[in-house]
């Protein structure tokens, strides 16, 4: 079996998942080859991490367009050899134009209404989430398996992670892990970051707030607001797993970084996910099942938010909640079953 693995951009969540799954697939029996093709901002992720990839040359804003379908089709047609399977991480239109069996991986069904045909054409669909949060459309239920989020389990301990990242050994470390900045998330990022910095005024001087954004992005988001001396803008990084492990607590906006922190037992505070969003539903779901995750309501004062962060930061790391978590094996079996 040769696997053509397609990875969507629009942030780095799909690329990070691909980087976890694709190399693992390549080691499974009967898999001769796995090649990655990346769309939009996923290209930056693979370039940064050194994983070989083909650039589909599809900008993020067009990744569910006819143009994207054309680029995907041309790429797949350029691939030689029989016994091919396409695994597409959220490039949903791939199933319409590929001439091989197709496994679609999705975090949600937010694209379903805009393009039910693509879901209907896929041979298998893996929901990398929980069906309690993301109800499966009736028309495709028979081909969907909810496998849970696919996230890396970090074996490293906190002291090692801090040493490698040059973070203080004993001080409080908090990471504002909002994901890759993306223009459509501007308001959301700005509000969450403003709330965090307001609360951070109450942090001890030796504490460190890690912000995985560039200083320019932070300046653009916050205007003239000066960052405190104990905030470190480390820029977008492929070492988020390690920053999470190094932190006493992780602050998220409810996206994939939340799943990673929770899966690894790291205390987490979810900051103001927009009401009704997928992120909000995931945060509510996890908050009811996970002792080390709290979420704000958006009405907290700076002091209240700091108290939540401080309390979270002094919570011991715990075992992850007893939930289904997806693995590369789930993808492998789906690909084999097509």
């Amino acid at each position: 079996m040769r696997i053509d693995y397609l990875s969507r951009g629009t942030g780095w969540a799909h690329a990070a998942r691909t980087a976890l799954v694709a190399p693992a697939l390549a080691r499974r029996p009967g898999v001769e080859e796995v090649t990655i093709a990346a769309s939009g901002s996923a290209v930056d992720y693979f370039a940064m991490t050194g994983l070989p990839y083909h650039d589909l040359r599809v900008p993020d804003e067009l990744d569910h367009s006819g143009y994207a379908a054309y680029r995907i089709r041309e790429h797949l047609r350029s691939r030689d050899g029989a016994d091919r399977v396409v695994v597409s991480d959220e490039l949903c239109l791939a199933s319409l134009v590929c001439e091989a069996p197709c496994v679609l991986i999705v975090c949600s069904f937010r694209h379903y209404d805009a393009g039910p045909e693509a879901f209907g054409t896929a041979d298998r669909i893996l929901l990398a989430g929980w069906s309690e949060v993301e109800p499966v459309p009736e028309a495709i239920r028979s081909k969907v398996t909810a496998i849970g989020p696919i996230v890396r389990v970090v074996g490293e301990d906190r002291p090692t992670a801090r040493r490698v990242l040059d973070l203080p050994k004993d001080a409080l470390v908090v990471t504002a892990s909002f994901g890759l900045f993306y223009p459509t998330k501007r308001d959301y990022f700005r509000d969450a970051l403003s709330a965090v910095l307001g609360a951070w005024r109450h942090a001890p001087a030796d504490a460190v707030l890690v912000i995985p954004l560039t200083s320019a992005t932070v300046r653009e988001l916050l205007g003239g607001v000066a960052l405190p001396d104990n905030a470190r803008c480390v820029g977008p990084t492929g070492r988020m797993d390690r920053y999470h492990r190094a932190s006493n607590t992780v602050l998220t906006v409810g996206g994939s970084t939340t799943s990673h922190a929770v899966r690894n037992g790291i205390p987490t505070v979810v900051i103001n996910p927009p009401a009704g969003s997928v992120e909000s539903r995931y945060a509510a779901f996890l908050a009811g099942r996970c002792d080390h995750l709290t979420r704000t309501e958006g009405t907290e004062s700076a002091q209240d938010l700091w108290d939540m962060i401080d309390h979270s930061a002094h919570t011991a790391e715990l075992a992850p909640p007893d939930l289904r978590w997806g693995t590369a094996d789930d993808v492998y079996h789906a690909a084999r079953g097509t």
Binding site: R57, P59, S65, G66, Y67, A69, Y70, R73, L93, L96
Partner: protein, 135 residues
């Protein structure tokens, strides 16, 4: 009618009733297919540089891609090996040179842009806003 429009007519007949093009009249599919095919031909002339498509034309392209025989029909019109690259969503001002070139090629090849189809081409809308006549 040109060879290009003949091809577009055949393709639009094949796309009529496509599940990917619901709620469109036969006439709309015909016009949109003609504009898409003309646009692809012009883009091929421009080294594969494809100006932004309206959502309507983009959807027709998706429908076309799911019908291999119709795709092959269009591909026979185009030089072999053409590789369409969409211009990124750069500020329209940065594309001005390409926009004027595109409009000129359209006019030379197919005549003036017909009334009622400029809205399928974001480039045309931009030029109209600048007061540049499409003729």
């Amino acid at each position: 009618m040109t060879e290009v429009d003949d091809c577009a007519r055949e393709v639009s007949d094949g796309l009529a009733g496509s599940r990917l093009l619901p709620c469109r009249t036969v006439e709309e599919v015909r016009t949109q297919t003609r504009e898409l095919v003309r646009g692809l031909v012009i883009a091929a002339d421009m080294g594969g540089l494809l100006l932004p498509l309206s959502p309507e034309l983009d959807r027709v392209w998706l429908a076309l891609l799911t019908e291999p025989p119709l795709c092959q029909r269009v591909q026979r019109l185009l030089p072999s090996g053409v590789d369409f690259v969409h211009v990124r969503n750069a500020p329209p001002a940065d594309l001005s040179e390409h926009l004027l070139d595109w409009v000129e090629r359209y006019r030379c090849r197919f005549g003036p842009i017909p009334p009622g189809v400029a809205h399928y081409w974001p480039a045309c809308r931009y030029l109209e806003r600048l007061g540049v006549g499409l003729s």
